[in-house]
Amino acid sequence: MSVEFGVVAFPGSCDERDAFNAIERIDGARARFLWHTTADLDGVDAVVIPGGFSYGDYLRAGAIARFSPVMKAITEYALEGRPVLGICNGFQVLCEAGLLPGALLPNPSLRFVCRQIEVIVENENTPLRERAPRASSFPFRSNIRLAGTSPPSTDSKS
C-alpha cells in the first residue's frame, strides 16, 4: 500500500514540482497536486504546501493564500491531527493561517543568509521520528526569520 501526498499549488507557487518529484522518489510514496480552488483533499495521507510566491506575496507572504478553499480544507485536516508540511512560503501560509505560532520578519542584519546549518531533532514525538536522523546538516538560505513565538527566534527557510 502506498502513501499518498497532496502537494498544494497556488497561483505563484513555484516549488510544487520539486516537492512532487521529491515525494515520487520515495519508495512507497505517490504524489498528486491539489489545486488551490479545491476544497476536497481527496483522501490524501499527508499534505505538503510548497514554496514560492503564493498570490504574488501581496499584502504579506501567505496572507491571501490563507483564505483559499484548499486552505480551509487543510485547516480542518490539520486540526484533526493529520500531517501537514509547510516549506518556505508554505510555512508562511501556515503561520498566517494560525496553524503555527508566530510571524516572519526580515532578518535584523538586512542580509540574505546562506550557509550550512546543523539541525537537531528537538521533538521526537512526530511521524518523522523513525526516519529522521537525530542530527543533520543542510544548506540554508533565507532573508527572513521567525518571530513572535516563545522559544528563542529561529531562522526559517524562505
Partner: protein, 92 residues
C-alpha cells in the same frame, strides 16, 4: 431613500512599537547617500484605502477594524489605525 452610504476609509498599517523594522532602517541608511543628513527613526508601513458600504461611518470603521484583525494587518507584528474620511477628501 437608500440607507447605505459609501464610506471612504483609510487604514495605516505600521510595524508595531519595538518590532525591528529593517525596511525603515534600510531607507534610513540610504538617505544620507542622497545628501539628506539628520534623518532618524524611519518606519515603513502600508496605506490601504477602501470604500465600504454601510449604514453609518461608525459601522463601516468597525467592519474595517475586523478586516484589519483578519487580513489587512498581522496583529502579531503590525499595528493599525482606521479612519473614516470625509466625502470631500479624495485621492490625497
Amino acid at each position: 431613500v437608500d440607507p447605505w452610504l459609501a464610506v471612504k476609509v483609510r487604514v495605516l498599517v505600521r510595524p508595531k512599537e519595538g518590532i525591528l523594522d529593517p525596511q525603515g532602517q534600510a531607507v534610513e541608511r540610504a538617505l544620507p547617500a542622497l545628501g539628506y543628513e539628520g534623518v532618524s527613526k524611519v518606519r515603513v508601513g502600508r496605506l490601504i484605502e477602501l470604500e465600504v458600504s454601510d449604514k453609518a461611518p461608525d459601522a463601516a470603521t468597525s467592519r474595517v477594524r475586523e478586516m484589519c484583525e483578519r487580513l489587512l494587518a498581522n496583529p502579531l507584528i503590525e499595528s493599525y489605525q482606521v479612519e473614516a474620511l470625509p466625502d470631500d477628501e479624495e485621492g490625497k
